[in-house]
């Protein structure tokens, strides 16, 4: 391998947290292989570049083009391709978030590269890359090797830690104007609807989920209050709750919902069906609250409280608030 390119995404004035994870992983890998790494940021600012530098990025290409105010995956892929070629990069790393999952496979075709998505581990063995990814909804994991010279990866969010570099880099910024034509805009994002004021489970550091044990939509304030006791807490749900119409599908965690990996996952009144575990088993710490001491969720939990959630949650919420000061 010759050079790694990290794909970075802006978020308001800063960079997405997942992008900081990508820089950190690229930096570690480049270090192990003794090769350089750089970044690419579309529609970025010098302030965002400065943040990347704190994480050890020394070279960044900022892509600007009038037409890029319109968001199109096909056009974005074209830009990254042109930057990768100009940089001589043969390994591109994305986050396995909505954008990354869309762009990364496209890049693999453009570069004739192999692609492994949703990686949870990157190792180097005999100067060769070995990556780990979950399969069968996380019930198993595979170790994958590339045959191709060029490689594209996407990293499961919140698995690789974002760490600042001990020696922040002096950043060298290149401005780049890509060549684009109208045919690159065959699919266009015409609008974005954000769930205002509510943190999505995919972006949350702490997730408190309710299951059928919560018994009705009217009791969900117990779940919301506990989530509110944490900075960066979001509300999730089991499929039983979503199917009952108590919460929207956007909050469902599991095989047919979202796959999350927060620092803390709190399962309240959730039995722990395999399809639910599929969406949260890589959480760093799991706390389960269930009145049935034999509920399968306890087997996967770090901590468990056997009890009636209607009694436990208010007390737990108060006690956690005392620690977090919220």
């Amino acid at each position: 391998m010759k050079k790694i390119l990290a794909y970075l995404e802006p978020q308001k004035e800063t960079l997405k947290r997942t992008s900081l994870e990508v820089i950190s992983a690229a930096r570690d890998l480049a270090g192990k292989l003794g090769i350089p790494f750089s970044g690419v940021l579309i529609n970025g600012t010098p302030e965002q570049a400065a943040i990347a530098a704190e994480y050890g990025l020394a070279e960044l290409t900022i892509v600007n083009h009038d037409q890029l105010s319109k968001y199109s995956y096909t056009a974005y892929a074209k830009c990254i391709e042109q930057v990768a070629k100009a940089e001589g990069a043969d390994c591109i790393i994305f986050s396995a978030n909505a954008t990354g999952l869309d762009l990364a496979p496209r890049m693999s075709v453009k570069l004739g590269a192999g692609y492994v998505g949703d990686c949870v581990g990157i190792d180097v063995q005999d100067a060769d890359l070995l990556v780990k990814k979950p399969v069968y909804a996380g019930k198993a994991q595979v170790s994958v090797k590339f045959y191709s010279d060029s490689k594209v990866l996407s990293l499961r969010p919140n698995v690789f830690t974002a760490t600042k570099s001990d020696s922040p880099a002096t950043l060298n910024i290149k401005q780049f104007t890509p060549e684009l034509s109208d045919s690159d805009f065959k699919a266009l994002v015409v609008s974005v609807a954000k769930n205002e004021g509510k943190l999505d489970v995919l972006e949350a550091d702490v997730i408190v989920s309710g299951g059928r044990g919560i018994k009705g939509a009217e009791n969900y304030n117990l779940i919301e209050n506990l989530a509110g006791a944490f900075a960066g807490g979001a509300v999730g749900a089991s499929r039983a709750v979503v199917d009952s119409g108590w919460r929207p599908h956007s909050e469902q965690v599991g095989q047919t919902g979202k796959t999350v990996s927060p620092s803390l996952y709190v399962a309240c009144g959730i039995s722990g069906a395999v399809q639910h575990l599929a969406g949260m088993s890589t959480s760093k710490v799991i706390l389960a609250i269930n009145k049935d001491k034999d509920a399968p969720i306890f087997k996967l939990a770090d901590y468990g409280i056997v009890g009636d959630l209607f009694n436990v949650l208010p007390v737990l919420t108060d006690k956690i608030k005392k620690v977090t000061g919220r």
Partner: protein, 248 residues
């Protein structure tokens, strides 16, 4: 409308996964295989488009002789035609995508439905891979769709919200839960599907770009500290979260 749906054959989602003797794939013993749940959404959406606009719904899978069972399920749901690209167990996504792309060039469909992911390898790449190979737009993780006047307007799930994407036809749509409720095949249709023809094709061989070296069952060691629900118990848990796990 000329509609194509790509389907994969996967273990039932409740399957207990055991690593097989080769150390790289799962032990298929006793496993019930089904149509990938996300692909059922694609079949349903295809059938609804046909019911509205007329046309044909074709279903294709790249697999082995064993894959005929899921094609029969598709026939029982009401699709017009099924295609099996029959070879060895697919080596990687590139092999599948190349073989799908070959058939798509022949069929020339207006719209192609896939699932957002195949719940076996969870490779999460086929829609974009195909889109790029065929140089047509693809929209992934779609939970709402309208197709009208030569274009598709799709609502796609992203972190913390939705994107509305407009794409010109032909295009690829990958289906997310919420798009529709797939129909259950009726018994007489299941019976009739048994004798319908399956169009079998030879695969083209493709040099693999990646390979699985080994498979393992992850065993993250969990603390498993379970307490009761007294005030002291809850104090203990908060203390552990704060001091041991350091998550608050």
């Amino acid at each position: 409308m000329n509609i194509l749906v790509c389907v994969s054959r996967v273990p039932d989602t409740a399957t207990k996964v055991i690593v097989g003797p080769d150390g790289k794939t799962i032990d298929p013993k006793g496993i019930k295989y089904i149509v990938n749940p996300y692909d059922e959404l694609g079949i349903e959406e295809g059938l609804r488009l046909k019911e509205k606009n007329g046309g044909t719904v074709t279903v294709i899978t790249v697999g082995t002789a064993l894959s005929t069972d899921i094609l029969r399920t598709a026939l029982a749901m009401g699709v017009d035609k099924v295609v099996l690209v029959k070879g060895e167990e697919p080596s990687d996504s590139y092999y599948v995508a190349t073989n799908l792309a070959n058939y798509i060039k022949e069929l020339n469909p207006d719209i192609i439905f896939l699932g957002r992911q195949s719940v076996d390898y969870d490779s999460l790449q086929m829609p974009s891979l195909l889109g790029e190979m065929l140089d047509i737009p693809s929209v992934s993780v779609v939970s709402k769709l309208t197709v009208e006047g030569g274009k598709a307007v799709a609502e796609r799930d992203i972190e913390g919200g939705k994107e509305i994407v407009e794409a010109s036809l032909p295009c690829i749509i990958s289906c997310q839960k919420g798009l529709n409720d797939p129909r259950y095949p009726k018994l007489p249709d299941i019976m009739k599907a048994k004798s319908k023809p399956i169009d079998e094709r030879e695969p083209v061989s493709v040099e693999a770009k990646t390979t699985v070296l080994s498979m393992s069952i992850p065993s993250k060691q969990r603390q498993n500290k379970v307490v009761g629900d007294t005030e002291a118990d809850i104090d203990e848990i908060v203390k552990l979260l704060h001091e041991e796990a350091k998550v608050i």
